[in-house]
């Protein structure tokens, strides 16, 4: 049986509140907070990007896996904010954790689904016996256009998972994928901000694919919601994952431990992977976890994990996701946030 050997997350320390963004655009903060079920979001510092956060998450995963990084045979980073248009993120991360040169790297893209994609491929190679260990990382520092609804939620964070066959913290019992061509969210080459199809991003996009994937994987596994201790779905805001969980028949108790969006925002490729990391921080041996990602364009990857006896033995070896989220927060004013995120056009470009 293959599964997760080690996992780790990273959250930048800076935050901006919904009130602070709404103030600039004369928007009604209470209605945004209610509509999105979100109070604040994480913001990367100017010296942080998908590569730096991936390194920190990968180092935390290695602390829990307790393996020689040279044995990692593949490293995949899923992101829609790779720092270079041409030059891989994966080689820098592999070099920083000491996994080079005998490692296969690829940078993956599929809107917010890219992180679970890396996990899916790394797991597949381990199952096939081609590599001993494989790492899948979901990380993003995504941007919403100033004043757009996405600006309230587009956040930054990363989660990394090492897959292998021995010393598992969670077995992978089932996988499943569900995709169609759906134009709900996109960004063309050389465009700085993405475009989205407004309300079309809901029913025919997020809900159709998350529900299709969750129902498909449960059918494949012969499982029902009561067989799971936890569910984590992609979190474009606080509202969608709550609603989709309820539509599937899951309770608040099953949904809330992995529900990070209210104080984290939407970390895109990092979203459901980071939620999974928060669940692994508290799950008991034998607990089953259903994870369903979502990426626009559009599709969902599903995983069924089962926690093992080793999970409680290693979880304290690295910072827990809720600790990273709730501690050491630095709140920004909109001006500093705009400077941090390169939203201000300068006369003198360095």
């Amino acid at each position: 049986m293959a599964g997760i050997v080690g996992y780790g997350a990273y959250v930048p320390r800076h935050r901006i509140t919904v009130e602070e963004i709404a103030k600039i655009w004369s928007a009604d903060a209470p209605s945004y907070k209610r509509g999105l079920q979100l109070r604040q979001k994480s913001v990367p510092a100017p010296d942080q990007d998908t590569v730096t956060m991936s390194v920190e998450a990968a180092r935390n995963a290695l602390k829990r896996a307790q393996i020689d990084p040279m044995k990692i045979g593949a490293l995949y980073i899923g992101s829609e904010s790779h720092p270079y248009a041409v030059k891989p993120s994966g080689t820098t991360v592999a070099e920083a954790i000491g996994a080079t040169p005998e490692v296969h790297c690829a940078d993956l893209e599929f809107a917010c689904k890219a992180g679970s994609e890396g996990m899916f491929v790394a797991l597949g190679l381990v199952r096939a016996g081609l590599i001993e260990y494989g790492m899948g990382i979901g990380a993003d520092t995504s941007q919403g256009a100033p004043g757009d609804a996405l600006e309230y939620s587009a956040a930054a964070g990363a989660a990394a998972f090492i897959f292998g066959k021995d010393n598992l913290v969670a077995e992978v019992e089932e996988t499943y994928s569900y995709m169609t061509d759906t134009p709900d969210f996109w960004r063309r080459e050389y465009q700085f901000y993405p475009e989205h199809a407004g309300r079309f991003t809901g029913e025919p996009a997020y809900f159709k694919h998350v529900l299709g994937c969750a129902k498909g994987i449960m059918k494949k596994a012969g499982a029902t919601p009561k067989d799971f201790a936890y569910i984590v779905c992609h979190q474009p805001n606080g509202k969608f994952p709550q609603r989709v969980g309820k539509m599937l028949g899951f309770s608040k108790k099953q949904i809330e431990p992995g529900w990070l969006a209210p104080t984290l925002g939407n970390t895109y490729s990092g979203s459901s992977p980071m939620g999974l990391s928060a669940i692994l921080d508290i799950a008991k041996p034998g607990d089953r976890i259903l994870m369903v990602s979502y990426g626009s364009g559009a599709g969902s990857d599903g995983f069924i994990f089962k926690a093992t006896d080793r999970l409680p033995e290693v979880r304290d070896l690295a910072p827990k996701t809720r600790e990273l989220l709730d501690n050491n927060q630095i709140y920004l004013e909109y001006g500093t946030y705009a400077k941090f995120r390169g939203k201000i056009r300068r006369a003198r470009e360095l």
């Binding site: 010296d47 942080q48 990007d49 390194v55 070099e95 000491g98 050491n328 630095i330 400077k339 360095l350």
Partner: protein, 129 residues
């Protein structure tokens, strides 16, 4: 910083690789060819754990052009737990809040950009522990 110079320093900048004298155990960062205390020439490559304390620091208010957007920022001399000293920017805090003896830890960060079209140089910086 030129790309080749940056590339040569990757083991230290990315992985905190240090040299530990096989004879007397003294650690050097960056590694050296000859041990300054026992003149030994055999070294084991180790990785610094990334935790230490601020030995001394200064707050930069007028910087080189490429860091002009970051002022004011703190730069510290850090006593690492392995007994070596290194110089590092201290970020994710108000520079006025930095104190001598303050515990810090290393994080992987972008250290500089070679202009808008050049390479991104990554390496270590310190944050409050």
């Amino acid at each position: 910083m030129s790309s080749p110079k940056f590339w040569r320093e990757i083991p230290q900048r990315y992985r905190m690789e240090a040299g530990k004298c096989s004879k007397c155990g003294k650690v050097f960062f960056p590694p050296r060819l000859v041990c300054s205390s026992c003149k030994g020439q055999d070294f084991e490559t180790i990785r610094l754990a990334g935790t230490g304390r601020v030995a001394t620091y200064t707050v930069i208010r007028v910087s080189a052009t490429q860091f002009a957007d970051e002022v004011p920022f703190a730069v510290g001399v850090i006593d690492m737990d392995e007994g070596v000293r290194l110089t590092s920017q201290i970020v994710d805090c108000d520079p006025e809040s930095v104190k001598t003896g303050m515990p810090v830890k290393i994080e992987f960060r972008k250290v500089q950009e070679e202009g808008k079209a050049g390479i991104l140089c990554y390496g270590y910086k310190c944050v409050p522990a």
